[in-house]
């Protein structure tokens, strides 16, 4: 085992598509483009490709850094690189920016080719299935008939699961991490609060705020604050902030008093400074809509019967946004179809965000899993 290294300086690429993409919403994208990054080398047999799907606020920038932005490190840099669990000496790793995102692929903040203006609120609703379809088309362009593995956490885990159902013959292994086969009512409720915060911001302008030279920063900030609470565990918050007071005493004001308030406001402001409100709306809806069992009368095992991949399902004990119970539904659904599946429930205090951290046992498990994949 070599010392784990960074993939180093990376460059994003762009792929253009002119074949119309029919969307689940009934809409259609006549032309669209995807930005993506790759790490490692595609082998001669084209059998070592691993697709990494991103979550709500993620992007195609999985690992390494940009030459002109040394501090912009990929969001899964701790997992991907030479000597890391997803080892780029063995695998050719691909990160794709999803349609509707704000990081360069066709989306609300990109130009609508039919009008020459930014899409804004006119960008169509996209679903997990649409993303998977578009990712498959990118794979076609890259000459990848079959992925050795598709992996994702949270909303990315839903895409990984969907890959196994939409293109069972095109994926050998699937890792579904901190995900769910569908959102619960409580989970949709959190998304709805976040959306209402954006939709009711006076600067939202029906989603066409670009034309007004403003952004619904307050709404986006609130949305992120609500989201952030649900990504952490009660214990982690208590441990990190407790009831610590900024000024050491109550000041009887609505300024920051408790440290948790400071933290949430900071996270909200930071997020509102770089993320796009329309993308937030679209992406939370994609989360809400995902429910592969729906067309099977809610019977998940029936929906999973199409899958043929070898699965790894991982959850985290303190994740209450995507709780272990939801992961177990996937596990038992696969098991009762006699599919190959392993399941780990990682005991760690950091809630939903755990899937992004390099918790030792979690990463050791992923190493073990990736190591046994033959390419």
């Amino acid at each position: 085992m070599i010392q784990a290294q960074s993939v180093g300086v990376v460059t994003a690429q762009r792929a253009d598509f002119n074949t119309p993409l029919k969307l689940r919403s009934g809409g259609q994208l006549d032309q669209y483009h995807l930005v993506f990054e790759t790490y490692g080398t595609l082998n001669a047999a084209r059998s070592n490709a691993v697709l990494v799907c991103h979550a709500l606020s993620g992007s195609h920038h999985l690992a390494g850094r940009y030459a002109d932005e040394a501090h912009n490190i990929g969001w899964w840099d701790n997992l991907i690189g030479p000597g890391k669990p997803l080892d780029t000496r063995k695998f050719f790793v691909i990160g794709v920016n999803n349609l509707g995102s704000c990081y360069g692929s066709s989306g609300p903040n990109q130009m609508n080719p039919s009008t020459g203006k930014l899409w804004g609120a006119d960008f169509p609703f996209v679903t997990v299935e649409d993303w998977v379809e578009s990712q498959a088309r990118l794979a076609d362009q890259l000459g990848i008939e079959r992925f050795a593995a598709v992996i994702g956490g949270s909303l990315g885990g839903m895409q990984a699961l969907s890959w196994s159902l939409q293109f069972p013959e095109r994926v050998g292994h699937v890792a579904v991490i901190a995900a769910a086969p569908k959102l619960t009512a409580q989970n949709i409720a959190f998304n709805e609060v976040a959306r209402q915060a954006i939709l009711t911001d006076p600067d939202f302008h029906g989603g066409h705020y670009y034309e007004h030279g403003v952004v619904p920063a307050r709404g986006l900030k609130l949305a992120r604050m609500v989201g952030h609470i649900t990504y952490l565990s009660d214990d982690a918050m208590a441990e990190k902030f407790g009831r610590s007071l900024r000024h050491g005493r109550n000041t009887y004001s609505y300024d920051v008093e408790f440290e948790i308030e400071s933290y949430l406001r900071h996270q909200g402001d930071k997020f509102a400074g770089y993320f796009d409100a329309n993308t937030y709306l679209l992406t939370t809806k994609a989360l809400d809509y995902y429910d592969p069992a729906f067309e099977y009368g809610g019977h998940l095992p029936a929906a999973l019967a199409r899958a043929t991949a070898d699965f790894l399902v991982v959850s985290f004990t303190t994740d209450w946004r995507f709780s272990p119970e939801r992961s177990r539904e996937i596990v038992y659904g696969l098991l009762h179809n006699r599919r190959n599946v392993s399941y780990a429930e990682i005991d760690c205090p950091t809630g939903h965000d755990s899937f992004l951290l390099d918790e030792t046992r979690y990463h050791a498990l992923l190493s073990a899993w990736f190591d046994r994949i033959e390419v």
């Binding site: 790894l312 177990r328 596990v331 038992y332 098991l335 009762h336 006699r338 190959n340 599946v341 392993s342 399941y343 780990a344 429930e345 990682i346 005991d347 046992r361 050791a364 498990l365 073990a368 899993w369 190591d371 046994r372």
Partner: protein, 196 residues
């Protein structure tokens, strides 16, 4: 565990080609790997220790993390042909619960356990010390075992719970013990079913 691989051979004889098998407390997945090789079973292990679970994954064995004290919630009735528990029953508090669950999810259960009534163990107690042996390798203060029982005790429990003992084999140092197993066998392997 390696000292008791012979219970694997007995277990293997009771498993038929292509069965669905669940192995509770599967460790690094060695038994399932063996059963996949010689019986082409569709196997799943259950393990709650993260290090062992990782070893099973590395071994290429399906393994599900689950706390056996909580039963086998989520698994369908009668889904498995066989459920196996090799040398783990003595480490579980909820003895009756897990036996009931095993015979719920599988048509037949295979269980092996160290026999506390083995003559060397009795001798040790008579000498005033808790037994330490090949089948009970831990000291009293660090043993993972929480239930200490004999073959006769287990027979009585099965009787009481309506569990049919379809086959019972006693072993000592890898040899089959036909006479006085409760006295002469250090390990017992059972084939159990529902007595209905």
């Amino acid at each position: 565990m390696t000292a008791y691989r012979y219970d694997y051979e007995v277990i293997t004889q009771w498993i038929e080609h292509g069965e669905k098998v669940l192995d509770l407390g599967c460790g690094d997945g060695d038994l399932l790997k063996h059963l996949i090789q010689v019986r082409q079973v569709q196997g799943y292990g259950v393990e709650n220790d993260p290090i062992k679970l990782q070893a099973s994954v590395r071994n290429g064995i399906n393994v599900i993390q689950m706390d056996l004290e909580k039963g086998l919630v989520g698994l369908e009735d009668g889904f498995f042909d066989h459920v196996i528990m090799s040398l783990s029953l003595q480490a579980i508090h909820n003895t009756q619960g897990i036996l009931r669950e095993m015979l719920r999810v599988a048509n037949e259960a295979v269980i092996s356990f160290p026999n506390f009534g083995y003559w060397r163990h009795r001798q040790s107690i008579l000498n005033g010390r808790m037994p330490v042996s090949d089948s009970l390798p831990h000291q009293w203060y660090n043993t993972p075992n929480v239930r200490f029982f004999t073959i006769a005790d287990f027979d009585a429990l099965c009787e009481m719970n309506g569990i049919a003992v379809r086959e019972r084999l006693g072993f000592d140092e890898g040899k089959l013990i036909l006479d006085e197993p409760n006295f002469l066998a250090s390990v017992a392997v059972y084939r159990l079913g529902r007595a209905d």
